[in-house]
């Protein structure tokens, strides 16, 4: 009850608290940087990013484009980042598809399917991811030796890895083709999600999006044709040659064990999100669709799924960002993702702070972009007006 009145003003308090907090934070960062600098200098370590152009001198066991020990750090980092992105894309896509299936089983009427879905979720959600990863990796290593490879549909699998039939083109060509396809897809999504913002006639926009996808695919085809050596055959099939496998496209056990682990673990979480999404859709909308004579397939695809998806998306975004971070566990089985490349680089170069900075920046970049794209999608499809999914 005493003291000057401005101390009790709410606005004054809010501003001082904010200012004090920001100032404290800045001081902390400044102090830490200065201390690190002086400590490093006394140990004779130089800071800076010149090392990025030095060659690494060690090997990377998996990369989408060729790497040699003479390649500089920046190339290794880029390849590591691409591996993480590749694994993330596969893992998220797999977890989404499997999660949709599990979620639908859990929200359906068939008791056997519901039980199966529940068992799946309880198992995969409750065991630590690293344990599941070791399990799949052990399974992969327990497969027979190359000469006893298991064959299925042109592919071979053994303890050394999974051998898929492949196109006879260089990795650079594949990268360009994939890039072309992704650019087309990205453009299409951009155009489609822009639809609600600038009230353009939706059908024209759909046509532009379709064109973008087509152009991306045609571009990919052109790259493949140009990159193919006419002297070679078009496809390469894996085949047993003596004691090892010749031809084909090898996927190492570390890679697919991690992909399976991320997919199955992620699917358990996605499955619960999917179930929640379907639960939130009001019965009224589905009854209205049924009363209009829509088939159960159309009720599902035009009403139930779109409404459930809108309820799921905000939670899915969190889950996706989380799953991307979980791919760093690949280091436990030796998959050369971004995290592992960074860890090896630190060992070999001693530039700890710089590499940790790059690691953070890399993951922030991936997860910010992912969240930004999905948030844009979320805003674009969000229900307009105050009414949500409706009740009754």
């Amino acid at each position: 009850m005493t003291g000057p009145s401005f101390l009790r003003s709410r606005a004054f308090r809010r501003v001082t608290l904010q200012a004090g907090f920001v100032a404290g934070l800045l001081l902390l960062v400044l102090a830490a940087t200065l201390t690190a600098r002086t400590n490093l200098a006394t140990q004779g370590l130089t800071s800076g990013f010149d090392f990025l152009w030095k060659s690494t001198g060690w090997e990377m066991n998996f990369s989408l484009l060729p790497t040699t020990t003479a390649d500089p750090y920046w190339w290794y980092l880029l390849m590591g980042l691409m591996n993480t992105l590749f694994m993330g894309t596969l893992g998220l896509a797999g977890a989404s598809v499997l999660g949709l299936v599990v979620g639908l089983m859990r929200s359906g009427r068939n008791p056997a399917a519901r039980l199966l879905g529940t068992i799946y979720i309880e198992i995969f959600r409750n065991l630590p991811l690293i344990l599941q990863l070791f399990f799949w990796y052990a399974m992969a290593n327990a497969l027979p030796a190359p000469r006893a490879s298991i064959a299925f549909g042109g592919a071979l699998i053994n303890a050394r890895g999974l051998y898929l039939p492949g196109l006879m083109v260089g990795p650079g060509t594949v990268a360009l083709a994939v890039l072309s396809g992704l650019v087309g897809l990205g453009l299409a999504i951009w155009v489609l999600t822009a639809r609600r913002f600038n009230r353009v006639e939706p059908r024209g926009q759909r046509r532009v999006a379709l064109l973008a996808v087509l152009a991306g695919l045609i571009g990919a085809g052109v790259f493949v044709v140009l990159g193919h050596d006419p002297a070679d055959a078009w496809v390469t099939l894996p085949a047993l040659q003596g004691l090892k496998i010749d031809g084909g496209f090898r996927i190492q056990p570390e890679f697919y064990a991690l992909a399976i682990a991320i997919t199955t673990y992620g699917a358990a979480y996605v499955g619960e999100i999917v179930r929640g999404g379907f639960k939130s859709v009001g019965r009224g909308q589905m009854e209205a669709a049924a009363a209009l004579g829509l088939s159960s397939w159309h009720i599902f695809t035009r009403v139930r799924l779109p409404l459930a998806f809108r309820a799921m998306l905000p939670i899915l975004i969190n889950q996706y960002v989380w799953l991307i971070k979980a791919t760093t566990l690949g280091i436990a089985v030796g998959f050369s993702d971004f995290f592992m490349v960074i860890a090896s680089s630190i060992n070999h170069s001693g530039q700890t702070f710089e590499f940790i900075g790059i690691l953070m920046a890399g993951f922030l970049l991936i997860n910010f972009s992912l969240a930004a794209v999905l948030n844009r999608l979320n805003r674009a499809i969000a229900l307009k007006g105050h009414q949500t999914t409706g009740s009754a």
Binding site: E287, A288, A289, L292, G293, L383, G385, G390
Partner: protein, 257 residues
């Protein structure tokens, strides 16, 4: 009226709706007790009765949103049975308007109206949109076609729901308390549309407590209680000389004060 080719084989000379000895249970609860009701083409029937008397259950049996346990339902001579084809056939000819509107909130008003005609009647988008605009004009909201349901008032949403049902060009419209979720000032705009439809000869079965509407357009008023039809009579007779005590009690509650 019908530019759309009818693929089904409904007999338009048979009674629009013919319900005989219909029974429905929820578990052990007997929700509908041997209901008999015939509605001829062009007739307007108003159904009223206390809460829980089975009004919704009865009209939802007509388009099989609820399955019945015994008895027969025929729509223009086509009997509803376990055959899914008969359900599809009947749903194409029977439109429904719900108390909660139940519009598709992720689609514009226009898309709400064109979805079923394009998917079920398989007409082109252009034709479906032309039909939709015609019916949106009829319910007096053509200017809202590009909006989303959540951006409209309750009365506007219910008029969209009526237009959506009309776009399938049904022979029969079922209404389940279409004005009960509306503020008083919006009730009139929905009732106006319903009166227009009635005057144009639409076959209507309407659960409502709007007794003014019943007086004005109903050919017959039906009173239900505890899963039974207690009384049915033309409106003058129904309101003037109700036969049963339960009807009198109900009317005094609805009209009284």
């Amino acid at each position: 009226m019908s530019a759309i080719a009818r693929t089904n084989v409904m007999d338009l000379t048979a009674p629009a709706i013919e319900i005989t000895d219909l029974n429905k249970y929820y578990g052990t609860f007997h929700a509908l007790r041997s209901i008999n009701l015939t509605v001829s083409k062009g007739e307007k029937v108003v159904v009223c009765g206390p809460s829980g008397s089975g009004k919704s259950t009865m009209i939802r049996c007509i388009n099989q949103l609820e399955e019945h346990d015994s008895g027969a339902i025929r729509v223009f001579g086509t009997q509803l049975d376990d055959n899914l084809g008969s359900i599809d056939e009947i749903r194409r000819e029977v439109g429904m308007v719900f108390q909660q509107f139940n519009l598709f909130p992720h689609m514009t008003v226009l898309e709400n109206c064109t979805l079923a005609p394009m998917l079920v009647r398989k007409i082109s988008r252009a034709e479906a949109e032309a039909t939709a605009m015609r019916y949106l004009e009829k319910v007096r909201i053509p200017d809202q076609a590009q909006k989303f349901p959540g951006q409209l008032s309750g009365g506007q949403q219910q008029r969209v729901a009526i237009a959506r049902a009309l776009c399938m060009q049904p022979e029969i419209l079922l209404f389940d308390e279409p004005t009960s979720a509306l503020d008083p000032e919006m009730i009139a705009e929905v009732l106006d549309v319903m009166v227009t439809l009635a005057q144009e000869g639409m076959t209507m079965v309407c659960v409502t407590h709007e007794m003014g509407f019943a007086r004005k357009v109903a050919d017959r008023v039906i009173f239900m209680d505890k899963g039974e039809i207690i009384e049915e009579a033309p409106p003058e007779e129904f309101f003037g000389q109700p036969k049963s005590d339960r009807t009198r009690l109900f009317l005094s509650q609805v009209l009284g004060h």
